[in-house]
Structure formats: C-alpha cells, structure tokens
C-alpha cells in the first residue's frame, strides 16, 4: 500500500511542487483586507488548497490514462482505492500541517489563532475529510474532466437554487432553514460541550470517508481500463 503512495509521490513530484507552492502562498491573500478573517475561514481555505494536492495526482494519472499501468502493478483494485484515501489524508494532512505551521511564523497569521485554535483545527479536519470523501470517488469515476465539470456543475447548481429561492420568494424560507440548522448545531455544541461536539464531528467525518471508500471500491472494481 505504501509503495503505491510512494509511487504517486515520486511520479507526481512535479505536480506536488507546483500545487504545494500555491497552497503555501495563497492563504496570505486572506490577509489583504484590513479586517482579518475568522481563523475558521483561514483554515478552511488552507484545507481546500491542500486537498488539491492528492486530488491533482489522481486527476493527472487519469488524464494520461496511466491508471491502466497502475492496475498492472502487483496490487489489487482494493489496494489502489485504499491508497488513494490514505494517500489523500497523508498528503493533504501533511501539507496542511506544514502550511499552517509556516503560517505561524508570520505575525498576522498568528493573531488569527487567538480566538479559538481548537475550532479552527476542527474546521480544518472537517474540510479535509469532506473534500476527500466527495472528490475521490468522483475523480475515480469520471476522471480529470469529470472533476472539473463536477465542480463547475456544483457552482451552477448552487446559483440556480439561489435564483429559484429568490424567484419563489422562498429565500427567507431557505434562510430560516439554515438558521435553524446553525442553532441546532450551536445548542448541540452547548449540550455536549466542546469535547463531545468535536468527537461527534470527527466520528461523522470518519463514517463519511468510510462510505465514500466503499462507494469508490464498487465504482473502481467494475471499471474496464
């Protein structure tokens, strides 16, 4: 399994360097506006950029139809899918830790953490887990352009729903729904306290990844290369 991740690192090192340096620099854009963003937004942004690293590797392999070669290595399809998830967490998590750590050396970034480091870290973990769980099966099934179309499609879908809500005057209904969801989470947070809340979130992300892993297995197992 680790051979597969090692292979991706070696064969994809050029892409990793490119995406990695972007992930390193980009968060500083958040510091441009005079009023500093909440730490959660900063961590979310770093998380998103870092998950693009492993996803970029998978997409590249699909683009050059090198997946057939990977499958000719002495590995089962299960190993390959699992290595995508472990690799995803390892590369994205690792790079995120590095970016956040380096960020601390910059004063302005350090201040962001003052109002709730734990919340930020939890948010980082969640964004990592969510992106990996959603993007990997998508890329395995539809490959590189599938991923791009998917992302664009999501945005378009979001806009359409927004316009629909606007047109049908249901905007405040949507608002109310979002508000109640946020309140529910807030009250649940009070109810079980920060530790309990963090535990349920982590559990939730873990279950989501497990389900996504299962889905990817089924997709990949029946795919003709």
């Amino acid at each position: 399994m680790w051979n597969l991740i090692r292979k991706d690192l070696i064969l994809g090192h050029r892409t990793l360097i490119v995406n990695g340096s972007m992930a390193l620099v980009a968060p500083f854009i958040l510091l441009l506006p005079d009023e500093p963003p909440p730490v959660i937004l900063y961590v979310l942004y770093v998380g998103l950029m870092c998950t693009m690293l492993p996803v970029g590797l998978i997409a590249k392999e699909e683009k050059f139809s090198a997946t057939a070669f990977t499958c000719s290595l002495p590995m089962t399809r299960r190993d390959i899918v699992t290595s995508r998830y472990l690799g995803g967490w390892f590369i994205a998590g690792g790079s995120m830790a590095v970016v956040l750590a380096l960020g601390l050396t910059v004063g302005a970034v350090r201040d962001l953490w003052s109002d709730g480091a734990s919340g930020g870290l939890l948010a980082g973990f969640v964004i990592l887990g969510l992106t990996i769980a959603i993007v990997i099966p998508f890329t395995i099934r539809f490959g590189m352009n599938g991923l791009l179309f998917g992302l664009v499609g999501l945005q378009v879908l979001g806009m359409v729903m927004f316009l629909l809500a606007l047109a049908t005057g249901g905007l405040d209904a949507v608002e109310r729904a979002v508000k109640t969801a946020v309140d529910a989470v807030g009250s649940y947070h009070e109810g079980v306290g920060p530790i309990g809340f963090a535990a349920t979130v982590i559990l939730g992300v873990a279950v989501l990844n497990w389900l996504s892993w299962k889905a990817s297995l089924r997709i990949f197992r029946t795919r003709d290369l």
Partner: protein
Amino acid sequence: MEDNVLEIRGVRKRYPGFAMRDVDLVVPTGHVTGLIGPNGAGKTTLVKLVMNLITREAGEIDVFGLDNLLHEAAVKARIGFVYDEPSFPHDVNARDLGRAIGPFYKGWSSERYRRLLGEFGVPERKRFKALSKGMQMKLALAIALAHDADLLLMDEPTAGLDLEFRRDLLEHLAAILEDERKSVLFSTHVTSDLERFADFITLIRDGEIVFSLPTSDLRDAWGVVRGAADVLDHLDAPDVRGVRTGPNGVEALVANASLARRRCGPEVVIDRPSLDDVLVLMTRGDSYVESH
C-alpha cells in the same frame, strides 16, 4: 512447476460490436506462444483479461496455477506486461519510473533495468512525452524485463520498431527462455518475427480461438496450394482451411501439404505457408485481392 503457465476456461466478454464467447486457451510453460489475428479479433481483450484490467462476464483464468482474481497481486507480481500503447504520466522520466516501480517487485534489479535502458538506447532523464513512440515502447519493455518475470505478456510490443531492434528483443527473450520456468505470450502483427522463434501459434478471430498449434506444424505440415481454380476439386475438403480467389488463380491453405501433393501431382505449386498467409487465408471474405 505448472506445465501450463496460463489456462483460460469459458471466458465471456462483450463490447458493442464484439463478443468473446466461452474462450478456452492453454499456454504451455517454458515456451513462446505467438498470438496472431486481425485487428479487433480480441488479442488485446485477452491480454487485459489476464491482467485483470477489464472485467469478464464469465470464466476463470489461472496463471501459474493461481486464479487471477483470488490471487491477483501474487499473479501480477510474476508477470512482465507490455501494453501496445505504453501510458505513463508525460512528465516522468525513466529514472523516476525505475525508482517508483522497483519496490513492487521482489525480482526487480535496478542494475538490470539500467543495463536494459542502455542496451535499448533509452535516455534516463528525458521526459516520457519527449520520447518517440518507439522509444516509449522500449522503455515499457525495459520495465517489463527488469523484474525477472516468469511470464512475459506482450501486446504488440514491436509496433513501429525496426528489424534490428526486433531481432535484439527476440535475443533477449531467447536468453530468458533458457530457463524453462519462464514463458512468453507475444501478440504481434509482424508475424515474420514469430516465424522461426515462436514455439506455438494461437490464431484468434472474431473473439474465437481458431487454433493453437506448434509453429513447426504450420511451417512443415501445412501448405499453400497456388494454381488455377480447378485445383480445388483435387483437394480433400476437410483438409482445406481457407481459400482466396484472385484474378489470376486461387490460393488454398491446406493442413496436410503432402496429401495435397499426392492429390494434385507434381506440377501444382505448393509453398510453405508464411504466418501472414495462414492469417490472410483463414480470414473470411476475400475483399480486395491484389492484381499483382
């Protein structure tokens, strides 16, 4: 040690416009089996099924006596695989590939890999995209040959390569075959390479195995009867494997040349068939025949 390195039983696979029904094939250990057949006959499908790159509707495949689904990793660890369009990420070079792939194989030797790259003339640091198609193929061959595989599974490994390289490759395979535990399954359109070198020839057409025979049988027992159209009347029907009619006479492929000789007498031309002849004459439909 298995006497058959590869056994395919009752395999079924369908694509739009192509169907493989209940294919059985046995590839003996310690020998070179040449796989020939027109484009779209199912050569690539067979190779991909063995490597489990594509799914199958039915059938079992044993490699080295192991079921290639239950023991997928163990089987693939002992196969050197060359696919007719080698596909690696475009920005990697031979050195990266060696470092990335070596650990997967117990028998991998980076010294042998470098020697092969040198012999095939593959630059170690040039990016894959910058290599010519022939050079990309040589890189794929170097990788397949570098881990001392027990079965070399090659789908059209010499397309577009010149005769000198093809002969060098056959030399490499012959050296490997001195160890009778090694085997080669080699699909190619350039059948002249297989003529003397392959031990067995398997002809596949429209998803069906037409025959699997020792090459020497095809070469020494079979014949191509060339003459006027009436020559067919002399021939023994079950013995005729294929006929092509052309503007200046007919060509009939027979499985027993000496019998045909006795039937047709000394003045009829009976040549030793080339593998191209066998393939062309056994493919139905005499579309265009050259007027030459």
